[in-house]
Structure formats: structure tokens, C-alpha cells
Amino acid sequence: MNAPINHQDNGLLRFMTCGSVDDGKSTLIGRLLFDTKTILADTLTQIEKTSRKRGMEAVDLSLLTDGLQAEREQGITIDVAYRYFSTGTRKYIIADAPGHEQYTRNMVTAASTANLAIILIDARKGVLTQTRRHSFLAHLVGIPHIVVAVNKMDLVDYDQAVFDRIRADYLAFAKEIGLQREGHDIRFIPMSALNGDMIVDRSDEMNWYNGPTLLDVLEAVPAAHTEKAESFRFPVQYVCRPQASDDPELHDFRGFMGRVESGEIAVGDAVTVLPSGRASKVKAIQLGNDKLDRAIHEQSVTLLLEDEIDISRGDMIVKSSEAREPVKQLDAMLCWLSETPLSPARTYIIRHTTRESKAKVGAIEYRIDVNTLEQQSVQGLGMNDIARISFRLAQPLCVDAYAENRATGAFIVIDESTNNTVGAGMVA
């Protein structure tokens, strides 16, 4: 049996939305859910009622994501919310992140799992500082596909000249931050989330626009891991040794359990275990009771090897031809997530794939201003700061550059005293 392929099922896409309520972000999400018939009658009736109560004529679709507003009123931390819809051919997970500057950490969190970002622009306002911030962060966290949604076109009389000008402005700025140079996929869609123009349905008001609707883009965008060649990376999560089993055949069973973070592996492939460097061959690949010939990115499987090698959680199995030297120093971009500032004097824990190491700050090279992209010299880092930094590690880690591999290039920083996750790092 091979890795499953399903031609009717176009898999799953994770995307994020960047923007503020003022840009119509909640309305956009509400519109997507509504037009794909994800919203059920009882929910709709409820928001109809609330809309009437607030004196509105049409149903206010932004009420679907009203949780955020309530939080703001109560002063609770505004947080990433996850929402779901399906078109029958593809399932979608939306990470809905608040867009304000003080929520950089939430944007980074939402971006970390997204393969596409929708950046909202209010057609009346054009490219703003926040547009730059959102684009920079989406770029930093390695989102390969960007949709610039020029919203509220109804408020500028669906004027093509407005759309064209915003596109030109954005492209000029994208060039500045290197988005274009690196071959990012950037698309522009004029829309009115309020009226449902160019979200799921097209619009009579914008016959000058021949490009795809937002949903067309979402349905067609390539899935994660399918656009560029990646090395096989298999961090071992758990070792299965059922020695006490009633079945004597299992007494020598050693299954290395984990998820294929990237690349693919087949029975017979030569592999190397890092950091020990020991080599073997793949004897079998299992998923539940099924035996597979090969496994691909994102599949959780169990690997059996030809040779008896001591392997435990935290080790990484790679193809011998794609092995890398483990490192004891990390150069990275780091987003600080905690209200407690980063202290260069302290020891932290770095978790990378399934491995942990104690770590100390080597140097903070610079902090980057997310609005101007200016590099600043600093002594410490506060919440929402993004910096180029180096760490010294107690244990070797098997990292790839984040630009090459989002799974093995990412790490989190943990404060041992609270066990809190305080930093998010991307290997340079």
C-alpha cells in the first residue's frame, strides 16, 4: 500500500487573516462561512437577532466572530481563534489573528501553521503601516502565498483605478522587503465582504476584474510541502518496545514512532540517526495495522530499521544522503512572546522538534522595527519584539534553515521556572 492519494479530496489548507475589525476582517470571515454554507440556521438566527437589536438592516456577518469584541470590552487578552469550513473538496482551518501592533505575537502564532495569508486593505485607506507590518510578519514566518484583499470596494464605487493604485503601491513595498525577489506568490483581489463581491461569488459591479475570486484562489493554491523539494526529517517521538506482550514475535519489536515532518521515505532507504550518526536501512513502515511501502510529509507512522540501534525520543532519523551536522549554536530570528522580558543572563530551554536543550543567549544582534523594518541595537527584548539573536546550546540540535524547512527550522523557548512558552525562533 502506498501513501494515500485522494483525487476528489483536495486535502486541507491552513490560512490566516491579517487585518483589524475596521478593515472588515470579521465580515470577510463571516462571509466565507456564510457563502460556503458553514453557518447553520440557529447561529444565523441568533446573529440576525443581535443585528436587529443594534439597529442594523442587513445581517452583520462580523458578529460571527464577535468573541474578539467581547474580549476587548472585558480586557481579556485578544487571542488567535481557529475556525473551520469545508467546500466538499477541501477542508480549511482559518487562524484569525488580531492585527494591532501589540499583537505581533498572535500574528506570529497564527502564521506559524499557515500556508496562505489574506492581508486586508481598506480600499479607502490604501497601503498603511499595518499592511507593511502584516506583510513583513507573513514573510518572516515563511508563508509562501499572499492574497492582498482590497476590501470595501463598494465604498469607492468599485473604481478600478483605486484598485490599480493600491496594487502598484503594494508591489513597490513588496520589492523593498524582498517579497517579490524570493518568488512569493502575491495576488490582488478587489472585493466587498459586506456585499459578498468576489469572495465566493463574482460581482456585476466589477466586470473589469477577470481574476479569480477569493475562494477560487483558496481552492487552487498548492498544499504545504508540495512546491519545493525537501529533505526527509523524522523526529522520533516515542519508541515502541512491547517486550511484555503475549505475542513472542513482538519481543524484539522496536518501532520508532513519529511524524514525517518533510520529504518522503521508502522501505529499503538508507537512513542515519542524528545526532549519533549511526546508519541503517528502513525495514518496514507501519500505520496502525497497515504496512506501507513509503510515507510522505505530514504522515504519522512507525519506522522499523534493519539494525538494532539505540534510538530514543529526541533523536532524528534522516536519509543518509540528506544528513546534516548537528549544531551547538543557533543563529535565528526570535519573536519574544512573554510579558517577562528576555534576560541574557538566564538559562532557557529550547524545544526543537522532539528534542530539548538548555540554552543561553549568545548575542542580540539587532531588533527589527516591524513598522519601518529598521534595525536597532538593544540590550534586552520585551513582548512582541522581533530580533536577530544567537543561542549557545548545551545539547546538539539537528536544525535546517527555516527558509528551507519550516518544521526543522523552528523552535520555541521555554522558561523553566513557569514552564511558559516565551519565545518563537526561526533558524537563520
Binding site: 494515500p4 469545508s86 511524524r259
Partner: protein
């Protein structure tokens, strides 16, 4: 030497792989996890995922059910049967015992025991020193859950502090806790009700019979269908009709199977999984809106059913 692989997993395979990864992270990071198994459809999926994650080994955790004493006997029987088939250890702790200990005090005899489960759960966590509880909750169940983490930290009082959640990035889960604290882990956070039913169909999973259409005595109360005269495993009969209520024999099924006193069925003739998948695809009522008396916030459900000519 790197390889470009254009293939992708189907959405169910992706969700399955993610859930297996989360289960293995709990097993890898925590000393004493437990999987909460009620016999309901979501936890039935969890058990299949645990099989795929850990076989041919034993599960690295026991199963546990917090029994309110007011569960459908079909579900309780199914729970015991399934645990026995898997050969895994099942711990049952009951709200009844907490009542006897005096740690749960009911306002009146008939009060729903559903919310008191948390007391019994915390007592069990302390008794067994569990540092992680794996549950089948999903983010699509209600608005408040849309922001829940996959690994959600609870302090020593079992409290969830929405202001103080750990950021969760990539698939780097942080399940660390100090003694006395614990983690709630939700491997099927990203699943919807539809995904659950599609998975049950694909995997051919067995479920308690009350998930499928059956005849049942009910009354219509405050816009909901309320099952009445329900026999418990003990022989006791609960949910007696109130004076003046008319008992109707109706064809119904349950979309969720919680505590009897707060779970309502829906009118349905879906008597197999394929029909339920179809019904789930075309339903106009959310899972909780239709079936949970405890957190019902909408009066649309009955209105909508009436519009469609049920009565």
C-alpha cells in the same frame, strides 16, 4: 538529493496524522497521562487514533470515565465492552461517590450532575497523580472553544485561565507542568462534527446504539425534545415527565450522549453511519444548539424543524 513530493494527504488522513502526533507528544512529554473515554463518538475516535498511534504496544495511559450515574445504559455497556476488547485498563470514578464524600453538594435531588463532573475529575487527577488528561473536545463545538489550545494548561485547582494561555506555535507543543498542575490535551481540536462522522464511517467504528434512529418516549419542553422515563443500569428510572406533559413516541437519535438530564435527541430516521453523514451535511442546526439543554442559547432549533414540517 532532496525530493519534491506533490502528493498530499486527504483531509481525514491529515487530521488523523495530526491527532496521532499529538497523542504521541503527550506520551513522550508527560509522566502519567490518562485518556478520558465516555463511550461517546468523539472519544471512540480517540481510541482508534490511540490504536494507530501505539499498537502493537499497549496504550501508554489508562482510560478513565467520570460517571455522573445518569448515563444511558447503552453507553455505559458500550464503554465497558470497548475497553475490554482493546485490553486496556478502564478507571471509572463516579459523581455519586463525590456526593457521598460531601465534595459535591446538589442544590436539590433533581439537579443535573453534569457540571459536578469536574469535582470528581479533579479528585481522580489527585488520586492517580495524572499530569495530563486527553479529551475529545473540538474547537468547532462552540465559540468559546475556538481559542482553546491543543495542549491546555491547568493550575493546581484545575482552572483554565484564558488570560494566561501558553502560545502554541507550529506543532511544537509544550506539555510541561509542575507537580500538581496538569495539561488537558485535545488531539481532535481541529475536527468538525462532519469530520468525526466521516472518520467513523471510514474506519467502520462501532458506536452505542442510541446514536442511531430509534423509537423513544419524549416530551416537548421549552423548545427541546426531552427523553422521559429513562431506565438506568441500576434499574432506577429517571427523567419522569412533569404533570400535564404529553408523552410522544418519536423516532430520534442522539448527536451527543452526555448526562441524561441535559442531553436531548433530534428527530431523525438516520439508522446507519452513511445516513448520519448525509444528515450532518444537510442539517441546519448546530450540534450543541440542537442537543444540549445545558448550553442552549438559541430558540431557532424547534422553529426551524417546524418550518421543515416535522410537526
Amino acid at each position: 538529493m532532496t525530493t519534491l513530493t506533490r502528493q498530499t494527504l486527504s483531509h481525514l488522513d491529515w487530521l488523523e496524522a495530526e491527532a496521532i502526533h499529538i497523542l504521541r507528544e503527550v506520551a513522550g512529554q508527560c509522566e502519567r497521562p490518562v485518556l478520558l473515554f465516555s463511550g461517546g463518538k468523539d472519544s471512540v475516535c480517540l481510541l482508534r487514533l490511540a490504536e494507530k498511534a501505539f499498537r502493537p504496544g499497549k496504550f501508554p495511559f489508562p482510560l478513565m470515565h467520570i460517571d455522573t450515574g445518569h448515563n444511558y445504559k447503552e453507553v455505559v455497556e458500550f464503554r465497558d465492552k470497548r475497553a475490554a476488547e482493546l485490553g486496556e485498563r478502564l478507571i471509572v470514578r463516579s459523581v455519586e461517590d463525590s456526593i457521598k464524600r460531601g465534595t459535591v453538594v446538589l442544590k436539590h435531588e433533581g439537579e443535573s450532575r453534569n457540571k459536578h463532573q469536574s469535582v470528581t475529575l479533579l479528585e481522580a487527577i489527585a488520586e492517580f497523580e495524572f499530569d495530563a488528561c486527553i479529551g475529545g473536545a473540538r474547537r468547532d463545538e462552540e465559540k468559546a472553544r475556538a481559542k482553546e489550545r491543543i495542549m491546555s494548561f491547568r493550575d493546581e485547582f484545575g482552572q483554565w485561565d484564558p488570560k494566561n494561555q501558553r502560545p502554541e506555535l507550529w506543532n511544537l507543543y509544550n506539555a510541561r507542568s509542575h507537580k500538581g498542575e496538569n495539561i488537558r490535551a485535545f488531539p481532535i481540536s481541529n475536527w468538525t462534527e462532519m469530520d468525526v462522522w466521516q472518520y467513523i464511517e471510514r474506519e467502520g467504528l462501532e458506536l452505542p446504539s442510541i446514536y442511531f434512529a430509534h423509537q423513544r418516549d419524549v416530551v416537548l419542553r421549552g423548545g427541546a425534545i426531552v427523553p422521559v422515563n429513562v431506565p438506568l443500569a441500576s434499574g432506577e428510572v429517571i427523567n419522569l415527565p412533569k404533570p400535564g406533559e404529553e408523552i410522544v413516541d418519536m423516532q430520534v437519535r442522539f448527536r451527543t450522549v452526555g448526562d441524561i438530564t441535559c442531553t436531548a435527541p433530534v428527530v431523525s430516521d438516520a439508522d446507519n453511519v452513511a445516513k448520519i453523514v448525509l444528515e450532518t451535511a444537510t442539517t441546519t442546526i448546530t450540534e450543541r444548539g440542537a442537543t444540549r439543554l445545558d448550553d442552549q442559547t438559541s430558540d431557532a432549533s424547534m422553529e426551524q424543524r417546524k418550518k421543515e414540517g416535522y410537526f
